[in-house]
């Protein structure tokens, strides 16, 4: 069964279907059903995945444009699989969370949900693409639905934020296009299939140039310091649901691209640039955290925490040890859940009070205990409290990096401490203390919102205590990737962070 095509096909047909439904409420229910079907299908696919089988599974390859050597090629390895799972789990949650988001601006509700499903199809496609050209097509095309979601349904500064987001990403993407074309031409294989291109570029100077073309695009996407300035604007202006997908999934395409394309296609260049990337990552970790502490706007604060977290992920990718690589991949998933939960709960809070400034809140815990409690759990996961999922991945990244790069790993640890400050201080200012007059009548989470938060909290707890199923899938894929970069873990190996607690 062509699993991956089916997943994308269901999403796209669902998107078309939503535009045909006349009634807004029905459109929402329809979207939810479609996204749940996609989730169910993905789970059905995932259980058939054999971690120690072929590298790429569920492969489908058809000629798309033979003249350019372009294929419609999709398949998943462990890394892609967990990221697709992350995407399809987040989409129904976001649909449920966005139930009333699109209504506020008197804009078309159906268009919003239709865009959401189009985006879902593209998110699956971008992770599943095994043809570099197809990856590029999804990489660029997925900007458009997100651009409209931010620009049409976002906050007061939405059009500025949307344009900034689009132009930054587009610029990076175009640089990558040059690199993609050059890769094809220099490789001279007449094909864009990833597996055929690996190892074709031997010349180190060429590798360096092509690496930069890809890397800058991914660094803007991820975003790494100093390419991050679009993210706080875009994430703060986007409706909460779109922000979750933007930070939770779209940005992961950047770090995923580094792991998949930068490392495997240009191993020598990747090694050459590693010190630079690690430095940028460490700066990002510390800078993002410090700036987050200073934010007065909740959504911007969460966005800056993500800049810090993406520093960790990029550091893990380029540390080039199995532990750090697996940790980084796991981090991508966990960060999606924990930051997603933070954005959504903050979104609920903002929806109630109508302000995104931290100063406008205080003592919410007393009037809305469930809201405050789940916010705390999500926050604690974000600051890597042991027992919550992000801890495992952050720990693996740090130990894995320490094996090779001691000083950066030590500096990065500061980020963990700063994380405690920004999260707990935000929590203290909004949830604790005397209840502010304006929030006295805030209702607690309603049934729909509980359904949104419950699965996320559950996932944070489950993967905090038992990340083994994920790691079992991720580890072989990361090992395989690193072996094609031809690095081995350094000898005096610190025992690799054991799975689970």
């Amino acid at each position: 069964m062509p699993w991956l095509s089916t997943l994308m096909g269901v999403s796209v047909l669902g998107a078309l279907g939503v535009t045909l439904v006349r009634n807004d409420k029905l459109a929402k229910q329809f979207t939810l059903v479609v996204s749940l079907i996609v989730l169910a299908l993905t789970v059905a696919m995932a259980v058939q995945f054999s971690p120690n089988g072929d590298k790429f599974q569920f492969a489908e390859t058809y000629d798309w444009i033979p003249q350019f050597g372009v294929h419609y090629g999709v398949a998943v390895d462990g890394i892609a699989l967990v990221l697709i799972l992350l995407s399809v789990i987040l989409v129904p949650i976001v649909v449920l969370a966005s139930w009333h988001d699109a209504e506020a601006g008197k804009r078309s509700v159906r268009t919003y949900f239709s865009l959401l499903l189009v985006l879902e199809a593209m998110m699956i496609g971008v992770f599943a693409a095994t043809d570099v050209f197809l990856f590029y097509v999804f990489f660029e095309a997925m900007l458009i639905p997100m651009y409209f979601m931010i620009g049409s349904y976002g906050g007061a500064q939405r059009s500025y934020a949307a344009v900034k987001f689009l132009l930054y990403s587009l610029f990076g993407g175009l640089l990558m296009l040059v690199a993609v074309i050059a890769l094809y031409t220099i490789a001279g294989k007449g094909t864009f299939m990833f597996s055929d291109l690996v190892g074709t570029i031997q010349d180190v100077t060429t590798q360096k140039w092509l690496f930069l073309g890809f890397f800058i695009a991914f660094a803007i996407k991820a975003p790494l310091w100093p390419f991050h300035t679009w993210l706080p604007d875009a994430a703060a202006q986007a409706p909460a649901g779109a922000a979750v997908l933007l930070v939770g999934v779209l940005d992961k395409v950047g770090t995923y691209g580094m792991l998949r394309f930068c490392l495997e296609l240009f191993p020598d260049a990747a090694k050459f640039f590693t010190p630079l990337v690690i430095t940028l990552s460490v700066i990002g970790i510390v800078y993002g955290a410090i700036v987050a502490i200073g934010q007065t706007d909740m959504k911007r604060l969460i966005a800056y925490t993500s800049v810090s977290h993406f520093g960790f992920i990029a550091m893990g990718v380029f540390a080039m040890t199995t532990s750090a690589g697996s940790g980084a991949t796991l981090y991508m998933v966990n960060h999606g859940f924990s930051t997603g939960a933070l954005f959504l709960i903050a979104g609920f809070l903002i929806y109630r009070r109508g302000s995104h400034f931290i100063a406008d809140y205080g003592g919410v815990q007393k009037v809305a205990p469930i809201l405050a409690g789940t916010f705390l759990v999500a926050g604690l996961s974000s600051l890597s409290l042991p027992g919550l999922s992000t801890f495992v991945s952050e720990f693996m990244v740090l130990t894995g990096t320490y094996q090779r790069y001691v000083v950066p790993a030590v500096i990065a640890t500061v980020g963990v401490i700063l994380a405690a400050i920004y999260i707990l201080w935000m929590y203290q200012r909004t949830m604790n203390g005397p209840t502010a007059e304006s929030v006295k009548s805030l209702p607690d989470l309603n049934a729909r919102e509980k359904w949104v938060v419950a699965p996320l909290v559950a996932l944070l707890l489950v993967f905090g205590f038992y990340p083994k199923p994920l790691l079992d899938v991720i580890n072989p894929a990361v090992k395989d990737t690193l072996s094609s970069v031809s690095v081995t873990d350094p000898k005096p190996a610190v025992p690799v962070a054991q799975e689970g607690q």
Binding site: W64, I65, P66, Q67, F68, R107, S108, T111, Y136, V137, F138, E140, A141, L143, I144, Y147, F148, G151, S152, R158, S159, A162, V163, L166, L167, L170, F171, L174, L175, L177, V178, I181, A182, Y184, T185
Partner: protein, 517 residues
Amino acid sequence: MNGTIQAPSIEYALLAPILVVFGAAIVGVLVEAFAPRYLRSAIHLPLTLLSLAGAFALAVWQAIKGVPTKPAAMGAVAVDGPALFIWGTILILAFVSVLLIKDEEHFVGAAAAVPGSAEEEQSLVERAAHTEVYPLLLFAVGGMLLFPASNDLLVAFVALEVMSLPLYLLCGLARRRRLLSQEAAVKYFLLGAFSSAFFLYGTALLYGYAGSVDLAKINQALGAVGGQDTLLYIGAAMLGVGLLFKIGAAPFQAWKPDVYQGAPTPITALMASGTLVAAFGALLRVFWVGLGGLDWDWRPVLYGVAILTMVVGAVLAITQTDIKRMLAYSSIAHGGFLLIGVIATGHTQAENTSALSGLLFYLVAYGFTTVGAFAIVTMVRDAGGEAWHLSRWAGLGKRSPLLAGTFAFFLLAFAGIPLTSGFFGKYAVFQAAVANGATPLVIIGVVASAIAAFFYVRVIVLMFFSDPAADGPSVVLPSRGTAAVVGIAALATVVLGVYPQPVLDLAHTAAQSLFVR
């Protein structure tokens, strides 16, 4: 020299598409002369559409029958693969543009009446109409067909004039903003005449150098004739000026925004698509067939022109507030991207084929999207005609989502976003250029694309993210013709963006035989 003149042999069958169009144009003139006023329109429209369709069918028939390997008409006209492909493209685009012109709302009733005068009032009352637009258009199209196929410089000059003169006239016939329209016509005429003079002088100098105006003979002379290099270089440069003017390449781009803005929008659509295609066809033939041996000299110049064109087009477009001027600058920028394809031609057969087929594909993709975009411009109207000022487009997405959505889609295609035809057009050209070692040019092209994306996106922001003006323009219910144009253009943009292979194959086949000499 015994006094007998050899009668020229003309392959009428090969030239049939051109002859059909010219024949229909002449019949159109007779209709103007003899048919009663109320009947003219009813005769012109089917005549024009049928002749274009017939010419297209003939061109297709020739392509199927097999492409000749020798120039026709005593070496004056080359009907080869690229020429047939370009003919097909021009004929389809012209057909589509005629569907737009059908809505005579766009044209003035009495062009000779002074704007605002009593005569103008009178003509409105009488519901006078210039039905001459149809034969004029057919003459222009005939010129467009001949221009890229002409294998000798004199024929090229004649074709250039046949193409341009009707267009000068048509530009001045806009029903609204008439002064602007007349200014556009005069400007276009003066600058066009100037550039034609350059072309002609270049032809004369090259004749002085090579002793022939035949492109193939000029090319043969390149290596053989010595000591006449001044004639050659100045001649080639002047020829280049004439051709680059028609393309609207910087620094010869100044006419484009004014003319595109002033001309009736359907004519703008025809110029932006058909004329551009024809001019690129001619440029390729002259520089490749005629001056191919000189490419070490012209390539660096075109390199600079391409860079300048892309940058000027993209940067100046940002400052525009008139939608048609903005599209004009966008057309300039696209001319720059297309020039990359001209430069990408190399020395091996494979490189040439890939560059040429990429260019041909780009022309098709760009042509359709452009016609569609201008068709939409005709539909957004204020009390005083088309709502030309960009600010009037604010919030259009709320009031007519389908129209605004389609226009946004065309803009994204201009910007070259994947899954639209514009992306593959750009990709094909860029790839050919990288393969030929012009990577720096491609990087500049990519940066220019990013700048260009900014102003396309700005229009989308206006339409979708801004609130509508209280007294915003109304969107007229499109006539069947206009609706068909938008539909065809949107369909072409989608299909070429998702499944470009058939057209790429066709372009590849057309390009494979390259230009006959």
